[in-house]
Protein backbone atom coordinates (compact mmCIF):
# COMPACT_ATOMS: atom_id res chain seq x y z
CA UNK A 1 0.00 0.00 0.00
CA UNK A 2 1.26 3.47 -0.85
CA UNK A 3 2.03 5.69 2.12
CA UNK A 4 1.38 9.42 2.11
CA UNK A 5 2.83 11.76 4.72
CA UNK A 6 0.70 14.82 5.40
CA UNK A 7 2.45 17.71 7.10
CA UNK A 8 0.25 20.54 8.31
CA UNK A 9 -0.05 22.50 11.52
CA UNK A 10 -3.79 22.63 11.13
CA UNK A 11 -5.27 19.43 12.47
CA UNK A 12 -8.44 20.05 10.52
CA UNK A 13 -6.60 20.14 7.21
CA UNK A 14 -4.63 17.01 8.15
CA UNK A 15 -7.89 15.32 8.93
CA UNK A 16 -9.46 16.29 5.63
CA UNK A 17 -6.39 15.10 3.70
CA UNK A 18 -6.15 11.89 5.69
CA UNK A 19 -9.82 11.00 5.21
CA UNK A 20 -9.63 11.69 1.54
CA UNK A 21 -6.53 9.61 0.95
CA UNK A 22 -7.53 6.77 3.26
CA UNK A 23 -10.80 6.42 1.37
CA UNK A 24 -8.85 6.36 -1.86
CA UNK A 25 -6.78 3.44 -0.59
CA UNK A 26 -3.62 5.09 0.67
CA UNK A 27 -2.01 4.71 4.07
CA UNK A 28 -1.58 8.09 5.75
CA UNK A 29 0.90 9.26 8.37
CA UNK A 30 0.67 12.73 9.87
CA UNK A 31 3.01 15.40 11.16
CA UNK A 32 2.19 18.80 12.63
CA UNK A 33 5.23 20.66 11.39
CA UNK A 34 8.35 20.34 9.26
CA UNK A 35 10.51 18.97 12.05
CA UNK A 36 8.04 16.20 12.82
CA UNK A 37 7.69 15.61 9.12
CA UNK A 38 11.41 15.05 8.74
CA UNK A 39 11.35 12.49 11.52
CA UNK A 40 8.53 10.60 9.84
CA UNK A 41 10.33 10.76 6.53
CA UNK A 42 13.56 9.56 8.06
CA UNK A 43 11.80 6.47 9.30
CA UNK A 44 11.35 5.51 5.64
CA UNK A 45 8.54 3.99 3.63
CA UNK A 46 6.87 7.25 2.57
CA UNK A 47 5.91 7.38 -1.12
CA UNK A 48 4.43 10.86 -1.29
CA UNK A 49 4.46 13.96 0.87
CA UNK A 50 1.69 16.57 1.02
CA UNK A 51 2.86 19.55 3.04
CA UNK A 52 1.62 22.96 4.03
CA UNK A 53 4.10 25.81 3.56
CA UNK A 54 3.16 28.02 6.45
CA UNK A 55 3.90 26.17 9.68
CA UNK A 56 5.49 26.88 13.04
CA UNK A 57 8.76 25.29 14.23
CA UNK A 58 9.94 24.43 10.74
CA UNK A 59 8.20 25.98 7.77
CA UNK A 60 7.34 24.13 4.59
CA UNK A 61 10.15 25.51 2.45
CA UNK A 62 12.79 24.48 4.97
CA UNK A 63 11.12 21.13 5.36
CA UNK A 64 11.19 20.51 1.61
CA UNK A 65 14.83 21.53 1.39
CA UNK A 66 15.81 19.28 4.30
CA UNK A 67 13.67 16.43 3.01
CA UNK A 68 15.55 16.43 -0.27
CA UNK A 69 18.79 15.90 1.63
CA UNK A 70 17.51 12.70 3.24
CA UNK A 71 18.11 9.42 1.45
CA UNK A 72 14.46 8.60 2.13
CA UNK A 73 13.31 11.96 0.81
CA UNK A 74 15.13 12.04 -2.49
CA UNK A 75 13.09 11.31 -5.56
CA UNK A 76 9.70 10.99 -3.95
CA UNK A 77 7.01 13.46 -5.04
CA UNK A 78 6.45 16.31 -2.60
CA UNK A 79 3.30 18.36 -3.10
CA UNK A 80 2.58 21.50 -1.18
CA UNK A 81 -0.71 23.14 -0.31
CA UNK A 82 -1.05 26.82 -0.91
CA UNK A 83 -4.08 28.91 -0.12
CA UNK A 84 -3.51 31.49 -2.77
CA UNK A 85 -2.43 30.75 -6.27
CA UNK A 86 0.71 32.70 -5.53
CA UNK A 87 3.32 32.49 -8.26
CA UNK A 88 6.19 33.57 -6.01
CA UNK A 89 5.46 30.92 -3.40
CA UNK A 90 5.27 28.28 -6.10
CA UNK A 91 8.57 29.34 -7.55
CA UNK A 92 10.21 29.28 -4.13
CA UNK A 93 8.80 25.89 -3.28
CA UNK A 94 9.85 24.46 -6.64
CA UNK A 95 13.35 25.80 -6.10
CA UNK A 96 13.37 24.19 -2.66
CA UNK A 97 12.65 20.86 -4.33
CA UNK A 98 8.89 20.48 -4.44
CA UNK A 99 7.35 18.44 -7.22
CA UNK A 100 4.05 20.27 -7.51
CA UNK A 101 1.22 21.90 -5.64
CA UNK A 102 -2.42 21.70 -4.73
CA UNK A 103 -4.38 24.90 -4.39
CA UNK A 104 -6.53 25.22 -1.28
CA UNK A 105 -9.50 24.98 -1.11
CA UNK A 106 -9.67 21.85 -3.19
CA UNK A 107 -12.40 19.52 -4.29
CA UNK A 108 -11.80 15.87 -3.51
CA UNK A 109 -11.49 14.79 -7.13
CA UNK A 110 -9.08 17.63 -7.91
CA UNK A 111 -6.91 16.59 -5.01
CA UNK A 112 -6.83 12.96 -6.05
CA UNK A 113 -6.18 13.94 -9.66
CA UNK A 114 -3.03 15.82 -8.66
CA UNK A 115 -1.89 12.95 -6.47
CA UNK A 116 -2.46 10.61 -9.40
CA UNK A 117 -0.44 12.93 -11.59
CA UNK A 118 2.74 12.46 -9.58
CA UNK A 119 2.31 9.02 -8.04
CA UNK A 120 1.17 5.82 -9.44
Amino acid sequence: MRTVLTVDDSASIRQVVANLLTNAGYRVVEAANGAEGLKQLQAGGVNLVVTDLNMPVMDGLTFIREARKLPTGKGIPILFLSTESDAVKKQQAKEAGATGWIVKPFQNDQFLAVVGKVLR
Binding site: L38, G44, P56, V57, M58, E66
Partner: protein, 150 residues
Protein backbone atom coordinates in the same frame (compact mmCIF):
# COMPACT_ATOMS: atom_id res chain seq x y z
CA UNK B 1 14.18 6.49 -8.51
CA UNK B 2 12.06 4.86 -5.87
CA UNK B 3 13.71 5.15 -2.48
CA UNK B 4 15.42 2.00 -1.35
CA UNK B 5 14.09 0.74 1.93
CA UNK B 6 16.80 1.98 4.26
CA UNK B 7 17.33 0.84 7.82
CA UNK B 8 17.91 4.50 8.51
CA UNK B 9 17.07 4.60 12.19
CA UNK B 10 20.36 6.20 13.13
CA UNK B 11 20.70 9.93 13.74
CA UNK B 12 23.83 12.05 13.49
CA UNK B 13 24.60 13.65 16.80
CA UNK B 14 27.31 15.96 18.04
CA UNK B 15 28.75 14.73 21.31
CA UNK B 16 30.09 17.16 23.86
CA UNK B 17 31.20 17.17 27.46
CA UNK B 18 29.99 19.34 30.27
CA UNK B 19 31.54 18.45 33.64
CA UNK B 20 31.51 14.68 33.84
CA UNK B 21 28.53 14.19 31.54
CA UNK B 22 28.54 13.39 27.85
CA UNK B 23 25.73 15.03 25.91
CA UNK B 24 24.50 14.42 22.41
CA UNK B 25 22.78 17.03 20.30
CA UNK B 26 21.20 16.27 16.97
CA UNK B 27 23.61 17.46 14.30
CA UNK B 28 20.82 19.03 12.28
CA UNK B 29 20.21 21.52 15.10
CA UNK B 30 23.85 22.63 15.27
CA UNK B 31 24.50 25.82 13.36
CA UNK B 32 28.14 26.31 14.25
CA UNK B 33 30.81 25.76 16.86
CA UNK B 34 32.75 28.77 18.10
CA UNK B 35 35.80 29.33 20.22
CA UNK B 36 35.08 31.35 23.31
CA UNK B 37 34.12 34.92 22.37
CA UNK B 38 33.59 37.98 24.58
CA UNK B 39 30.37 37.64 26.52
CA UNK B 40 28.17 40.60 27.44
CA UNK B 41 26.52 40.21 30.79
CA UNK B 42 22.75 40.80 30.94
CA UNK B 43 22.00 42.19 34.41
CA UNK B 44 18.76 40.85 35.81
CA UNK B 45 18.63 37.77 33.58
CA UNK B 46 18.29 34.29 35.03
CA UNK B 47 21.82 33.11 35.96
CA UNK B 48 21.97 30.26 33.43
CA UNK B 49 21.31 32.71 30.58
CA UNK B 50 23.36 35.50 32.11
CA UNK B 51 24.96 36.68 28.89
CA UNK B 52 24.68 37.34 25.16
CA UNK B 53 27.22 36.98 22.37
CA UNK B 54 27.53 38.28 18.84
CA UNK B 55 27.24 35.52 16.26
CA UNK B 56 27.70 37.06 12.83
CA UNK B 57 25.66 40.09 13.72
CA UNK B 58 22.96 38.24 15.62
CA UNK B 59 22.52 38.64 19.33
CA UNK B 60 22.49 35.13 20.73
CA UNK B 61 21.82 34.19 24.37
CA UNK B 62 24.55 32.12 25.95
CA UNK B 63 23.45 29.23 28.16
CA UNK B 64 25.60 27.80 30.92
CA UNK B 65 24.23 24.30 31.50
CA UNK B 66 26.34 23.87 34.61
CA UNK B 67 24.21 26.48 36.35
CA UNK B 68 20.99 24.98 35.06
CA UNK B 69 21.87 21.40 35.97
CA UNK B 70 23.35 22.21 39.37
CA UNK B 71 26.89 21.24 38.45
CA UNK B 72 29.85 22.94 40.12
CA UNK B 73 31.08 26.01 38.19
CA UNK B 74 34.35 25.82 36.29
CA UNK B 75 36.60 28.35 34.60
CA UNK B 76 36.91 28.13 30.81
CA UNK B 77 39.88 26.24 29.38
CA UNK B 78 41.53 26.06 25.97
CA UNK B 79 39.00 23.35 25.08
CA UNK B 80 35.92 25.41 25.94
CA UNK B 81 33.62 25.95 22.98
CA UNK B 82 30.30 27.59 22.26
CA UNK B 83 27.84 25.48 20.26
CA UNK B 84 25.30 27.61 18.42
CA UNK B 85 22.03 25.76 17.98
CA UNK B 86 18.77 26.49 16.22
CA UNK B 87 15.95 25.33 18.42
CA UNK B 88 12.28 26.10 18.83
CA UNK B 89 11.31 27.87 22.01
CA UNK B 90 7.56 28.10 22.51
CA UNK B 91 7.17 27.61 18.80
CA UNK B 92 9.59 30.35 17.83
CA UNK B 93 12.85 29.41 16.12
CA UNK B 94 15.64 30.70 18.32
CA UNK B 95 19.41 30.63 18.08
CA UNK B 96 21.03 29.66 21.38
CA UNK B 97 24.68 29.34 22.35
CA UNK B 98 25.66 26.57 24.75
CA UNK B 99 28.92 26.48 26.67
CA UNK B 100 30.69 23.12 26.47
CA UNK B 101 33.91 22.09 28.20
CA UNK B 102 34.86 20.07 25.17
CA UNK B 103 33.32 19.17 21.83
CA UNK B 104 33.86 15.64 20.55
CA UNK B 105 33.00 14.21 17.19
CA UNK B 106 29.77 13.79 15.28
CA UNK B 107 28.68 10.16 15.52
CA UNK B 108 25.80 8.07 14.35
CA UNK B 109 23.72 7.12 17.29
CA UNK B 110 21.36 4.25 16.82
CA UNK B 111 17.90 5.38 17.77
CA UNK B 112 17.15 1.86 18.83
CA UNK B 113 19.91 2.03 21.40
CA UNK B 114 18.57 5.15 23.01
CA UNK B 115 16.37 4.42 25.94
CA UNK B 116 13.77 6.42 27.72
CA UNK B 117 15.41 8.30 30.51
CA UNK B 118 15.96 6.00 33.47
CA UNK B 119 15.08 7.54 36.76
CA UNK B 120 18.27 6.40 38.38
CA UNK B 121 21.91 7.17 38.24
CA UNK B 122 21.63 10.72 37.04
CA UNK B 123 22.07 13.71 39.20
CA UNK B 124 19.42 15.85 37.57
CA UNK B 125 15.73 16.11 36.85
CA UNK B 126 14.48 13.32 34.59
CA UNK B 127 12.18 15.71 32.64
CA UNK B 128 15.30 17.44 31.27
CA UNK B 129 16.35 14.23 29.50
CA UNK B 130 14.90 13.11 26.22
CA UNK B 131 16.70 9.82 26.30
CA UNK B 132 20.00 8.19 27.09
CA UNK B 133 22.24 5.72 25.34
CA UNK B 134 25.66 4.16 25.60
CA UNK B 135 28.66 4.99 23.48
CA UNK B 136 32.11 3.51 24.06
CA UNK B 137 31.04 2.41 27.49
CA UNK B 138 29.91 5.88 28.56
CA UNK B 139 26.42 7.12 29.19
CA UNK B 140 25.30 9.63 26.55
CA UNK B 141 22.45 11.99 27.38
CA UNK B 142 20.15 13.46 24.76
CA UNK B 143 18.85 16.51 26.64
CA UNK B 144 15.43 18.07 26.13
CA UNK B 145 16.71 21.57 25.43
CA UNK B 146 13.33 23.21 25.20
CA UNK B 147 12.41 21.99 28.70
CA UNK B 148 15.80 22.92 30.07
CA UNK B 149 15.60 26.44 28.72
CA UNK B 150 12.01 27.31 29.56
Amino acid sequence: MAPAATPDQAVDVLTLEIGTEVFAIEATAVREILDLVPVTEVPGARPFVGGVINVRGRIVPLVDMRLRLAMPPAAPTADTRIIVLDIALEGEPTAVGILADRVNEVVQLDLGMLEEAPRLGLRWQPEFIRSVGMRSGRLVVLPDLERILT
